[in-house]
């Protein structure tokens, strides 16, 4: 290459030397521990904070029924299967009656016999009545004849005695009828008892519902109270939501909920907090709330997992910062305020926090203050910083 003049070699050396030294100086001050820390800052602004609570829960039926026998026994037949809809009063299953049917027959036969006994006693009353009537007539006639002196006094006395005896027999027969009737009533009550015992072995649906489990099959022996079938009222599904106690301030009945089921993560359905359980979980440190669907989605199943976001009242026109700007220094929470190239740690008191990461500042900052949001390294009082639009390595 030819220029009009010749650059002295010393100049080249000097240029290279100066270049190297300035590169060294740049390297020493712009990288490593001596370099200023790149930070991003944002002004403190006024905005609405939409706080919300977030919890996960399981779908469950508010009313679930366990259908089982009241006494131990063997299952004779089960008439419905899981998924069947049943109506109130429908026979679902039956227990083995063992000798109950025979006992019902026996008591019925005994009652029949009782009825016959009543009839026999009735006949005896009629027989005694007619005997008494005849004896009375005989006595009156003998009396008349005795007064006329036709028959002896002894005959008159005999006729009177016969009449009294017949009257006594009539009373005895009537008493026998009453006894037979009471016996019959007892035997008929026995029939009722045996039939009720028999009908107790029939397991019927207490309400309209859906069969959710068929726990035993015919032939199995179950104990008293053990489930044979389980029913649920499908219209009563709700979600039992567990919320971290530390993040449950403001939880109460009536809050609106957005529900995302794990089975259908792309659809969000609406719901309402029906009840906050008076007892929290002491072990997991969670509060439990029941959230009802405004309209239960199709195909929802018990035990399904759901994410529930509860909207709390919006805090309007609050002083807010991004939650990424909150730092801890020792036990103190605060932010790094940036003013005139200098950093200062300002302790703050925070209020509501939105799920989008905005935090209300109750105390410590003014609108318009600049605060550090992101920093490439941890900051302290002696940190030198340089403000950048975004930290290196991260898309702005």
């Amino acid at each position: 290459m030819t220029w009009g003049f010749r650059v002295p070699r010393q100049v080249w050396v000097a240029v290279v030397g100066v270049g190297l030294l300035s590169a060294l100086a740049w390297v020493a001050t712009q990288s490593g521990p001596l370099a200023p820390i790149p930070v991003t800052v944002t002004p403190v602004v006024r905005a609405d904070v939409a706080p919300a609570l977030f919890g996960i829960g399981t779908v469950e039926a508010r009313r679930a029924y366990v259908i089982g026998p009241t006494a131990a026994g063997r299952v004779r037949r089960v008439l419905v299967d899981v998924g069947d809809s049943v109506t109130a009063g429908q026979l679902l299953a039956e227990m083995e009656p063992v000798d109950l049917d025979a006992r019902v027959t026996a008591t019925a036969a005994a009652a029949e016999r009782g009825r016959s006994a009543v009839a026999a006693a009735d006949a005896q009353v009629r027989d005694a009545g007619s005997r008494h009537a005849w004896a009375a007539t005989e006595a009156r006639r003998t009396d008349a004849l005795g007064a006329a002196g036709v028959v002896s006094q002894s005959a008159v006395d005999a006729a009177r005695q016969a009449e009294q005896s017949a009257a006594a027999q009539l009373i005895a027969a009537e008493a026998a009828v009453a006894a037979a009737r009471r016996d019959l009533a007892r035997l008929e009550a026995d029939i009722g008892g045996a039939q009720q015992q028999r009908s107790n072995l029939r397991l019927v649906a207490p309400v309209d519902g859906l069969v959710t489990a068929r726990d035993v099959e015919p032939g199995s022996t179950v104990v008293a109270g053990q489930a044979v079938l389980r029913l649920e009222d499908p219209r009563s599904v709700w979600i039992s939501v567990r919320l971290d106690q530390a993040r449950s301030a403001g939880l109460g009945a009536g809050l609106t909920a957005r529900i995302t089921r794990r089975a259908d993560p792309l659809t969000e359905v609406a719901g309402t907090v029906v009840r906050v359980e008076p007892i929290s979980d002491a072990i997991t440190e969670e509060r439990i709330a029941k959230v009802a669907f405004d309209r239960p989605p199709d195909g929802v199943s018990s035990g399904e997992m759901a994410e529930v976001t509860l909207a709390l009242p919006v805090v309007g026109d609050a002083v807010v910062v991004p939650n990424a700007s909150l730092r801890h220094r020792g036990l103190q929470q605060g932010v790094w305020r940036y003013a005139d190239g200098q950093l200062g740690f300002v302790p703050v008191t925070t209020g509501a926090e939105g799920l989008d990461g905005t935090v209300q500042i109750l105390e410590g900052l003014q609108v318009g203050d600049l605060v550090v949001v992101y920093s490439e390294r941890d900051l302290d009082d002696r940190s030198r910083v340089t403000v950048v639009p975004a930290i290196r390595g991260v898309a702005p």
Binding site: L20, G32, A324, H328, L331, L355
Partner: protein
């Protein structure tokens, strides 16, 4: 007075510059090696700094949670909060595992933390802090996740909401922070197949599945699938209390092991990364010796290359000291160029390393002194050769 060394350098300055550049690259490698070692130690310190804890409470007789597995019950922190001198206590879990994003998986240390407590990432470089108590994650930049990514940890999908920097485990794996309850589940809840198998096994045990006690089986199954332990409890000591004293009291009364910041640093630096750092240290020593030897040989051959000119100088009656200082100045100049180039090169390629490379200014100063010392020593060899040359060689052969 004319600078002999300067004139000689100007005479063959391109050769000199290229030699300096080559030497500089070699010195740069040495600096980087030192930086890798410093980076490992610094990673360990940053790991401790970022947890923001004064004390680590772990299982008795273990060096947990980083150097050894440790497990303590997760309700122990309540007892600790009531202990005099303790201002904050928060559970934390650590689990190194593969974290999936789409097709790719990244080896990461999953940290379960209590939002607002010690153990939370201290600063972010993008995104926001976790606001939901489930299924949100803050990931380290080196994991390659961005805000909005969906990542899979065991059973659940998490949304990355924030990005941190330099949050790595002592092994260099990036950290992924998730809420404590999710982390406990990830650590202790098995996969579905294992749960189903376990249920079947329990159901087949006649002692646990008794016909006369209908609810027993369900209760046992529920108790099998809950994990109620954490790896450590991080403690912040109230102002005015000495962490050492509080740690001693905890060890004495609470049936736990408690480490202070200094003890933890000792465990991490002296035990966990000791072998790796010795490995690098050995390499560093060899590299330094090799660099010194190369500098010596370069200067020696440079001197031999101009032995005739030196003979001429001697012939015209130049002092030996002048010749010696010329060679020494050249050697030192070469050293300065090498140092500058090495420092710049190390700074440029340092960030490209997968693990953090820390180039300490104090290391650079020591390095500079060492380079100069080596150059002086190396030049003595060349000076000896130069002084021994016979002035007659200038006109002979």
């Amino acid at each position: 007075m004319i600078s002999l060394a300067g004139r000689d350098i100007l005479h063959s300055w391109s050769k000199f510059a290229l030699t300096g550049l080559g030497l500089g690259l070699l010195i740069g490698v040495t600096f980087t090696m030192a930086g890798v070692y410093r980076g490992m130690v610094d990673d360990a310190k940053v790991l401790l700094n970022n947890s923001g804890a004064d004390l680590w409470v772990v299982q008795k007789d273990t060096l947990g949670p980083y150097a050894e597995p440790s497990s303590v019950h997760d309700d122990i922190y309540r007892g600790l909060l009531g202990f005099p001198g303790i201002a904050q206590a928060a559970n934390v879990t650590y689990l190194t595992m593969q974290v999936r994003r789409g097709e790719r998986d990244v080896r990461a240390m999953v940290v379960g933390f209590v939002p607002g407590g010690p153990g939370e990432p201290r600063y972010l470089i993008a995104g926001r802090r976790v606001t939901r108590s489930h299924y949100e994650a803050v990931a380290d930049l080196s994991a390659g996740f961005a805000v909005g990514d969906r990542i899979r940890i065991r059973r659940h999908e998490y949304t990355v909401v924030g990005v941190t920097r330099r949050m790595v485990s002592s092994g260099g794996d990036p950290m992924v922070f998730i809420p404590l309850k999710d982390a406990q589940e990830a650590q202790f809840l098995k996969d579905n197949d294992a749960i189903v198998n376990e249920r079947a096994r329990t159901a087949n045990n006649p002692a646990l599945n008794r016909p006369g006690v209908p609810g027993l089986l369900g209760a046992i199954e529920a108790s099998q699938t809950s994990g109620r332990t954490v790896n450590a409890v991080l403690v912040r000591v109230a102002s005015g209390h000495s962490p050492d004293r509080v740690a001693a009291e905890l060890r004495r009364w609470k049936h736990v092991q408690a480490f202070t910041r200094a003890q933890m640093e000792d465990i991490l630096v002296a035990k966990l990364i000791a072998t790796a750092s010795r490995q690098i240290g050995m390499f560093l020593v060899i590299l330094t010796i090799v660099s010194a030897a190369i500098v010596a040989f370069i200067i020696y051959t440079m001197t031999l290359g101009k032995i005739r000119e030196i003979a001429v100088l001697k012939l015209i009656g130049t002092h030996n000291s002048t010749i010696a200082s010329m060679i020494l100045q050249q050697a030192l100049g070469l050293g300065v160029i090498g140092f500058v180039v090495g420092k710049i090169a190390a700074t440029i390629w340092g960030p490209a390393f997968p693990r953090y490379v820390l180039l300490e200014p104090w290391d650079a100063v020591i390095g500079f002194v060492l380079v100069m010392l080596v150059c002086v020593l190396a030049s003595t060899l060349a000076i000896r050769a130069a002084l021994r040359v016979d002035p007659a060689a200038a006109i002979g052969g």
